[in-house]
């Protein structure tokens, strides 16, 4: 098994979280939970000591989509729901980069839901962070695939009549080899989750809860902080290699009754590793020379 980060060049000088922030002013609302995720990400990047030029932050569309502009590194704010193909394409051709993919709950579970299972089962060595604020923020307050049933939004004036999906159980069922849950109100813990995701060789999924103070009320920060359970602290022992226990934690859907931490972790060859085996096998066809390829067209 390869260790993640092994092939990624590190910064020569000590970098701080601040070194990973750009001068661009975020468009996020005052008090937005996304600021906490940005702080956690830059903190984790500084702890990895990867050089900014070897970082690629890629996103879909939504409030979260603006993230790359605020991180010092290479960034790509791409299409709605399409960040995972983009990030996979980059990582498997450039294993020397730290590839961080992110998007909202609508981005990843509505329009982009078709890509999530395939990225998870292929297991490329990327981190995928879902900003799960349970609402469409950028388009100003419509319900999303994770909005609880009954909630009133701009498109559900009489309460949502749809059952929400659960990102964490989906990730496990799809075969993600790392699943964690983080809360943007606890930047240190959140940064630790991102750091663990970076260190994990394979597809690392983080369900992040960054409260949307504009469309989901400003009570969320306070209430989550009061009620959150932190895995493997305060006696909340959890073995992330125990599927049954992991599933039970992943299955929590009420943001006010949730455990945060590493839920599931599994050692499995990455896509890039398997690609290496495949190339070795394919090499037996002959040398990598165009002339020998041409020979197959001779009658």
């Amino acid at each position: 098994m390869a260790t993640a980060l092994a092939g990624i060049p590190r910064a020569e000088t000590k970098l701080s979280a601040k070194d990973f922030k750009t001068d661009l002013k975020p468009i996020w609302c005052p008090g937005c939970g996304d600021f906490g995720v940005l702080a956690a990400l830059t903190k984790a990047l500084s702890e990895v000591q990867v050089a900014p030029e070897n970082v690629a932050v890629m996103t879909g569309i939504g409030c979260a989509g603006r993230l790359p502009g605020y991180v010092n590194g290479y960034g790509f704010n791409a299409l709605h729901g399409r960040v995972l193909p983009l990030a996979t394409g980059l990582k498997l051709t450039r294993p020397d980069l730290l590839v961080f993919a992110a998007g909202g709950d609508g981005d990843g579970l509505a329009i982009g839901a078709g890509h999530f299972p395939h990225a998870a089962r292929r297991n490329p060595d990327i981190t995928y962070l879902m900003f799960d604020n349970q609402v469409y923020g950028l388009t100003k307050g419509q319900f999303s695939p994770t909005t609880p049933m009954g909630d009133v939004t701009t498109t559900t004036r009489f309460g949502s009549i749809e059952s929400p999906v659960n990102p964490a159980t989906l990730a496990m069922a799809y075969g993600a080899s790392f699943v964690a849950r983080a809360f943007s109100g606890n930047v240190n813990h959140h940064a630790e989750m991102i750091l663990e995701a970076f260190r994990h060789p394979g597809f690392a999924f983080i369900q992040s809860i960054p409260p949307c103070v504009t469309f989901r009320g400003n009570e969320q920060f306070k209430t989550i902080r009061e009620r959150a359970r932190w895995l493997n602290t305060d006696g909340n022992d959890h073995d992330p290699s125990d599927w049954g226990a992991a599933w039970e934690i992943a299955n929590q859907t009420d943001i006010y009754d949730m455990s945060f931490g590493i839920i599931w972790r599994q050692a499995r060859p990455t896509y890039e590793e398997r690609l290496g085996f495949l190339r070795e096998k394919a090499g037996k066809r002959g040398p990598a020379e165009l002339d020998s390829v041409l020979d197959q067209f001779r009658p």
Binding site: P52, F76, N77, R82, G89, L92, T93, G114, G286, R298
Partner: protein
């Protein structure tokens, strides 16, 4: 070119035999009859002999088994098209022939060979007696059983029969069979030899008294290569430096993916079969952002899904190549049949003022060249490039004169070399229409790109003034491409000073060129203008061609005349130069069809 000669048969009898250096053979049968394999072996023998050859296959809708047919054309001169009419028809049974009748037009005097086992009396076979066919019933099943103990070898036995009957290169056929089965057991190879010999012996024994009135004359030449358009396109991509192919299976483009799945890994590349076409092009854009040349290929339905990423690649200025192997549309259409019906989509697809480049190869060898060219243009102009091929071009196997794969230059994108103290700006004004691309990993080049309109640094903007400037920058590339490369990407064929002109693109060029060849020999001065670059339209070289001819006919295989109307909007066409012949696809144009249209033009 057929003339009548007098030949002496082995039995000493004298009979009139037409000689030809251009023969079209159709073979029809059910799954298991091995008709495709027979056709492939004929073509392989011909190419090894230095002849020109082409094979077009056709299948029923069944996944496995079912009826299949192929038409093989072998000629001394370049076989530009599939050959309009069959000189020889082989039917293992007539029920299967009925399904392909629409596609298999027979020539007068056609030699019809069918298996006695079919049982249809000679006077009841579904061939028009007015054609004065020469009909032979041959007991393929029995002969094969006798010779090898199995009727399965009847398709090989058929090759022995055809070789001897029509004076095809019989040694070459034997070698082609041996080549194909060289890894099989001694037993299989011995059975093949016996089947071939039995076929030849049958002809010498039973038909010596009345030889068929058609003889193929040729001499041995330099061996040709044999490839399909899809293989040539995939090979061109590999040559151009493509190291990521991502795609989703779709007829008739999947062979591109299958070929690259075999070849890319040993070159350190990757073939990724994705969950859909959106992911396919998404992976390509992601890889190209990281500096890796990438391609996807698809057909109409998949192209619909790729449209959003086409727009992203355009605004973000990311090189990417998309091959569209067109099939009959709209929607699912007829997946296994050809049509040039996606032009309007690829020329305009995408909301916004989306720049893109479209190129179209005109024959199998050109699929290789246009693939290299597509990558070169994508890299140089930092924009998506679409290759418009189609089922007829992509899936037909054709002899190709050996070419030097190293002679084609490969262009790489302009990359960032460091700005000194100045911060990197991805879309710097003053660079012209393209700026050096900083590739992740390059220190000092860190930046963010997006599908949002942006200022020079790549950061988003809502400024309409900046938007206008960036639109102009992105479209200036297209103008430059047409200006700098247009002339060399418009090909002309046929008479040197034509009076009548044909303008066409893509696979239709094959039949148009052959139509011109036929007309020129009959004393008409006909030229063919084939733009390989369709978008941006190289207006000047096409206009120059049109100025030189008195009348012009635009030919394309779609209902609306999609390219014609696009070109009309950009060229000043008078009535004499604006004749259109467009029809729905399914069946490619025949040469005669185009000849007739051009002759009608001459009389207009």
């Amino acid at each position: 070119m057929i003339d009548v000669a007098t030949s002496t048969t082995p039995a000493g009898a004298v009979s009139a035999r037409r000689t030809t250096d251009d023969i079209v053979i159709g073979i029809v049968g059910s799954g298991g009859d091995g008709v495709i394999s027979s056709g492939e072996l004929l073509v392989s023998a011909a190419a090894a002999e230095g002849l020109y050859a082409t094979i077009l296959k056709s299948f029923g809708p069944q996944i496995r088994g079912g009826e299949s047919s192929c038409r093989v054309r072998i000629s001394r001169e370049e076989a530009l098209s599939y050959g309009d009419r069959l000189d020889v028809l082989v039917a293992f049974n007539w029920a299967d022939f009925a399904r392909f009748k629409e596609e298999l037009e027979l020539a007068p005097g056609v030699v019809v060979i069918y298996d006695s086992k079919d049982g249809t009396p000679v006077d009841q076979i579904p061939v028009d007696p007015a054609l004065e066919p020469v009909i032979l019933q041959i007991p393929f099943h029995e002969l094969a059983n006798e010779a090898t103990g199995s009727s399965l070898s009847k398709n090989i036995l058929l090759l022995g029969v055809l070789g001897e009957l029509f004076d095809l290169p019989t040694d070459g056929i034997a070698e082609a069979v041996e080549r194909k089965f060289r890894r099989k057991s001694e037993e299989v190879r011995a059975a093949n030899s016996k089947a071939l010999a039995a076929g030849r012996a049958y002809v010498l024994r039973e038909l010596a008294e009345a030889p068929v009135p058609l003889s193929f004359v040729h001499e041995k030449g330099e061996p040709k290569l044999l490839m399909t358009g899809n293989e040539a396109l995939a090979f061109g991509a590999l040559k151009a430096g493509c190291r990521l192919y991502a795609g989703y299976p779709i007829t008739p483009s999947s062979d591109v993916m299958e070929w690259l799945a075999n070849e890319l890994p040993r070159f350190g590349g990757t073939m990724m079969q994705t969950e859909d076409e959106i992911a396919a092009i998404g992976m390509c854009v992601g890889a190209s952002f990281g500096g890796t040349k990438a391609m996807t290929s698809t057909a109409g339905p998949g192209l619909s899904l790729m449209t959003e990423f086409l727009g992203l690649a355009s605004i973000a200025e990311i090189p990417v190549v998309i091959a569209d192997i067109q099939r009959v549309g709209p929607s699912t259409g007829i997946p296994t049949k050809t049509e040039q019906c996606d032009f309007a989509h690829v020329a305009h697809a995408g909301p916004g003022d989306t720049p893109r480049v479209v190129v179209a190869p005109y024959d199998v060898a050109d699929c290789f060249h246009m693939a290299v060219e597509a990558f070169n243009i994508a890299e140089e102009f930092q924009t998506p490039v679409i290759i418009l091929s189609d089922q007829y071009l992509g899936q037909r196997k054709e002899s190709v004169v050996p070419f030097d794969i190293h002679a084609w230059p490969v262009v790489d994108r302009l990359t960032f070399g460091g700005n000194g103290a100045e911060p990197y700006r991805r879309y710097r004004q003053g660079d012209g229409d393209v700026s050096p691309m900083a590739i992740p990993g390059q220190a000092g080049g860190e930046h963010t790109i997006s599908g949002l309109e942006h200022v020079e640094s790549g950061d988003p903007t809502s400024s309409s003034a900046v938007h206008a400037r960036m639109n102009a920058r992105r479209h200036a590339k297209l103008e430059r491409l047409a200006r700098e490369r247009g002339a060399e990407l418009v090909r002309t064929f046929g008479a040197p000073n034509p009076k009548l002109g044909i303008v066409c693109w893509g696979s239709t060029s094959a039949q148009a060129r052959e139509a011109a060849r036929r007309l020129n020999r009959a004393g008409h001065a006909v030229g063919v203008c084939v733009p390989q670059l369709l978008c941006p339209l190289p207006v000047e070289p096409i206009a120059a061609f049109l100025e030189g001819v008195e009348r012009a006919l635009w030919v394309e295989l779609n209902h609306q005349g999609q390219f014609y109307h696009y070109a009309r909007a950009r060229l000043d066409l008078d009535a004499a130069h604006g004749h259109l012949y467009a029809r729905s696809g399914g069946m490619p144009f025949s040469v005669q069809e185009i000849v007739d249209q051009v002759l009608a033009l001459g009389e207009a």
